[in-house]
């Protein structure tokens, strides 16, 4: 029996392609100050802070995963450049600038391997969603039906999910308008639990400082095949 090293080849072997992606992390923080007076008077302070932390995390993750940026639009140091949209494959170009037709949606849908269509979703900015929602047939009825969750169904029962981190509807060429595919096969991200820390009081300013922090890292998987992007 011949034992082969991992880098050896018998000449007949057909090996799978192995690669890895390192999800390096960035520390993302957000700060909030409140006065002693506020701290004494406010009710449900814990609930308030946790709610704020959750909302800020959600908004930030949308940007970080989609574009590799923080909420303010600053590029993350360690995240994949351009995030999911930059790593996604080419799903074609719209036929008419500033518009997304049904044929465009089908073109995007068809560009994705059927293995990734199952459990796939369309993603687009709210303005694209609203544009599509306004499309009607020649008899004036809505062109796209909606799911039980209230999302538009574009092609073969696949829902369109709003992603506010994606570009708005535009006539500028080369801008991602709609994405389709399996995001969980395209990008993986790590997240350390969101921390809410109340620092020592600042007696000079009679304030307390709350620091919300999370460590976020992302790695690209089979993004080129799992998700395709339709561009303007």
């Amino acid at each position: 029996m011949l034992l082969l090293g991992e880098t050896s080849d018998s000449g007949n072997s057909v090996d799978p392609i192995l690669f890895s992606n390192l999800a390096n992390t960035d520390a993302l923080v957000s700060v909030l100050d409140f006065s002693f007076q506020f701290g004494d008077d406010v009710f449900n302070l814990d609930t308030l802070l946790n709610t704020i932390a959750a909302s800020r995390t959600g908004r930030t993750l949308e940007q970080a995963i989609t574009n590799g940026k923080d909420f303010a639009g600053t590029v993350l140091t360690n995240a994949p450049t351009g995030g999911l949209i930059a790593a996604a494959g080419n799903g074609g170009t719209v036929a008419t600038a500033g518009a997304v037709s049904y044929a465009d949606a089908v073109k995007l849908f068809s560009s994705v391997d059927p293995a990734y269509r199952a459990d796939g979703h369309f993603f687009a900015h709210q303005t694209v969603n609203d544009y599509l929602a306004a499309q009607v047939t020649t008899t004036g009825r809505p062109l796209y039906k909606t799911s039980d969750a209230g999302n538009l169904i574009l092609v073969q029962g696949k829902e369109l999910l709003i992603n506010q981190a994606m570009p708005a509807l535009t006539s500028t060429a080369g801008v991602a308008q709609v994405a389709f595919g399996r995001a969980d096969k395209a990008i993986a991200y790590t997240l350390r639990d969101v921390r809410v820390q109340i620092l020592e009081p600042n007696v000079q300013q009679l304030t307390k400082r709350v620091v919300f922090s999370v460590r976020f890292g992302a790695g690209i998987l089979d993004a080129a095949n799992a998700v395709k992007v339709l561009k303007s």
Binding site: F19, T25, L161, L191, G219, L221
Partner: protein, 185 residues
């Protein structure tokens, strides 16, 4: 005199009768005479009050009927006003009684039900100090009402791995999509 007062008088008379009965048993003549005089005075008062109540009771239906008739007369004027509006080519659907007539109707109703309505009261306006707001206590809702702004569910669709440290994580990927079985190797 109010019915409660009449009842009180009645109880007082009964009490006096019991006293007289007691005194008769004791055969105390001056005391008996004093109680009889007191009893006679109370009886006269009571008879007077009863007569007054009966008179008021007999007049009350007439007063109510008179006031209700006033209301009916005011209401009967409405068709006439509507007819006049139709003659003036106005839509009756937008008809609203003028302020004076509405006030007259309200006044008639108030007269008809005088004594049966709750007395006038002024509600405190919590937002205006001079209208009583200065003494109206305030409360908070027990929770914050959070303003909303949508963010998408992409984070729930991408592959997530929670870590306790936040360290970098290697993500291995295997792609064997180009391979399959062949008849020979």
């Amino acid at each position: 005199m109010a019915p409660q007062a009449v009842e009180q008088k009645k109880l007082e008379i009964q009490k006096n009768l019991r006293t007289v009965s007691t005194l008769l048993t004791q055969k105390s003549t001056p005391a008996i005479e004093a109680q009889i005089a007191k009893l006679n005075a109370n009886t006269a008062d009571l008879e007077s009050d009863v007569r007054m109540l009966l008179e008021i009771e007999s007049q009350l239906p007439n007063v109510v009927e008179t006031q209700i008739a006033d209301v009916k007369r005011s209401v009967n004027l409405l068709p006439e006003i509507q007819a006049q509006l139709i003659r003036n080519n106005h839509s009756t659907t937008h008809y609203t009684p003028n302020t004076d007539r509405r006030a007259a109707i309200n006044q008639a109703f108030n007269r008809a039900w005088n004594g049966k309505m709750t007395p006038e009261q002024r509600d405190l306006v919590s937002g205006i100090d001079t209208a009583g707001g200065a003494v109206v206590p305030q409360e908070f809702f027990g929770s914050f009402v959070e303003a909303l702004k949508f963010y998408g569910p992409i984070a729930s669709k991408a592959l997530l791995r929670d870590t306790s440290t936040g360290r970098s994580t290697k993500v291995p990927v295997v792609n064997d999509t180009g391979n399959g079985f062949a008849v020979a190797w």
